[in-house]
């Protein structure tokens, strides 16, 4: 059997991380990479990654996607270009129309039915017409605050209330994340950024809540989310961030899904630099009230960057094996690490 052929669109932190992971695996080849960034376009991926090419075929980063992807040139394309479904749509459509399966890192694509049901239906239609499938995934949304919750409800006869809490550190992240999450801002500026929508915070609560609800058969009749500054009382410094005492060290996002007028799904997701400096310890926590109750914790939290990279790469076989159409994490078999030859995971 031929190796599994993968293309990557977007060679930033996520796309290049996926390449790094794929290069260590058996039975899979990277056959093309598209990226517009002038520092990367035209260069060998091995050069950009700082990895010896060895026996592997050369891959030059090409800014023109139509040169990277021709019809059925590969089994799957990993699209690490966007956070929002609307922005990702034209790119995803282009790949599907070349009869290539897609995995998208766009947070909203983890459950596009939540906020863009028309686009979701359109993607499903295009995928089916072209005989391929498409999935959005990542660590969160994609696993920690949704699929893992769904999986744990599997051992329950009855569910009353769900709380998913992800307390993570922003310290490992770079300048772009510091800016997106408001690290180092004055509280007033932060609040203005929330009001005018320029601060994104975490994208994915609506997707996670709707994924859980649809999976277990609840109907969400209202969704709300809030974004508050985490104000530090001490100076905090991380490799790429600094928050002086009295300023913003991160963002505390909360969200609620209402079912029959009651809050049934609570999401709590504070992200900040150096959380330990004020006694906050990181972790992922799922508390499900019902029969029997389930109280899960993962300490420390699963690393967000590596987790997203792994989820996207590890789902490749499931997406290739799936029936044509738009898939979500609740439609496919459970994710799993791929320690053997990629080809043995593919059902031809």
């Amino acid at each position: 059997m031929e190796n599994v052929k993968v293309a990557i669109w977007g060679f930033g932190a996520m796309g290049s991380g996926m390449a790094r992971m794929l290069l260590k695996k058996k039975g899979v080849d990277i056959v093309g990479v598209c990226d517009l960034h002038p520092e990367r376009a035209g260069r060998s991926i091995y050069d950009v990654l700082g990895i010896e090419r060895g026996e592997k075929p050369e891959v030059i980063i090409n800014p023109n996607i139509d040169e990277v992807l021709t019809e059925k040139c590969c089994d799957i394309c990993l699209c690490a270009t966007d956070s929002f479904t609307k922005n990702a749509f034209p790119r995803l459509k282009k790949v599907l129309e070349k009869k290539i399966n897609v995995i998208s890192t766009a947070e909203e694509m983890a459950y596009p039915q939540a906020q863009n049901p028309e686009i979701a239906a359109e993607l499903d239609k295009i995928a089916k017409e072209n005989g391929v499938s498409i999935l959005g995934t990542g660590i969160n949304p994609g696993l920690i605050m949704d699929l893992l919750v769904v999986c744990l409800t599997g051992c329950m006869t009855d569910v009353d209330h769900i709380e998913a809490k992800r307390v993570n550190s922003l310290s490992p992240f770079g300048p772009a994340v510091m800016e997106e999450q408001g690290v180092g801002m004055k509280v007033d500026d932060f609040n203005r950024g929330v009001a005018d929508g320029s601060l994104a915070g975490h994208v994915g609560f609506s997707e996670s809540i709707n994924m859980i609800a649809d999976a277990i058969g609840w109907k969400v009749d209202k969704f709300e989310q809030q974004m508050a500054p985490i104000v530090t009382s001490v100076d905090r410094k991380s490799p790429f961030g600094f928050a002086a005492a009295g300023d913003v060290a991160g963002v505390n996002m909360t969200g609620q899904g209402y079912v029959d007028g009651q809050v049934k799904i609570d999401m709590i997701h504070p992200q900040q630099i150096e959380p330990e400096m004020e006694g906050t310890f990181t972790g992922d926590y799922i508390t499900i009230k019902g029969t029997p109750e389930v109280n899960m914790s993962i300490k420390p939290e699963v690393d967000g960057g590596l987790g997203t990279i792994a989820m996207c790469v590890n789902m490749i076989p499931h997406v290739i094996n799936a029936d044509p159409g738009l898939k979500t994490m609740i439609d496919l078999p459970v994710p799993r690490a791929i320690m053997g030859d990629f080809r043995t995971f593919i059902k031809r």
Copy 2:
């Protein structure tokens, strides 16, 4: 759409618990129950369960499976009759040949490929010939020490070593479990029981280890397990068990899966009455070394009885929806609680 129709074979603690759960759900009917026990056969299930029948159709427990099940008389049969694949096989075959899907509680059926690959292949063939599917599941094997492990590896780029530990209390269980697990025995008698195979202990390590390994692409080249008495230093008393100081309060089972000559999967599963009396606190723990590391705990442990009941009932739609053949938990979408109408979970 008609209600989903379920039959139950075996109306002990598990089978009757599934009936109790199903009676609270929408869009699903129990259409037949088979049980040989003279205290139950011939009686109404509502009478045995101590539940008001209300508007629901009468179901009389029938000791003759051929009267309970006629060809395609229901969508699925829950078989809660056995622990071992070899013993369950003739019963499972009978149900499949009536063109009815099956979920089995037999621990070994959670991954019959592990110890009975020929029977697994035979069941797969029979199921396909009859256009139906068959799954073995439960809380463990089925979720806690295997599927949940697999799911958590999904966020890892690389896995080095897996440890799954389930520390549970036997206090809620009845006299049969006390006997199976050796509670109250003298240490010498316990050791004789291990040697002559009359003490079963936990059934499922081989299944869990092989499920995990096959899921992530490891090849198990050796499997071992051990069974040691948990000797109490104080008198311990539970509703159905008693262990005097110096005697056996439960069983500590350990198992190892070797990959390339190294222990890669460790299973640790001490079960005892009143564990808190000597400072043991119950919980489910998964520790996966690799990138990134994952350290999960569920405290207290997920209730084994309710968990098994829920897993079997909650997997009904996935098994009905599956392609014909033998399925395992790693082939199907993630388990989930069913809080809505059962019919909405079925793809016709």
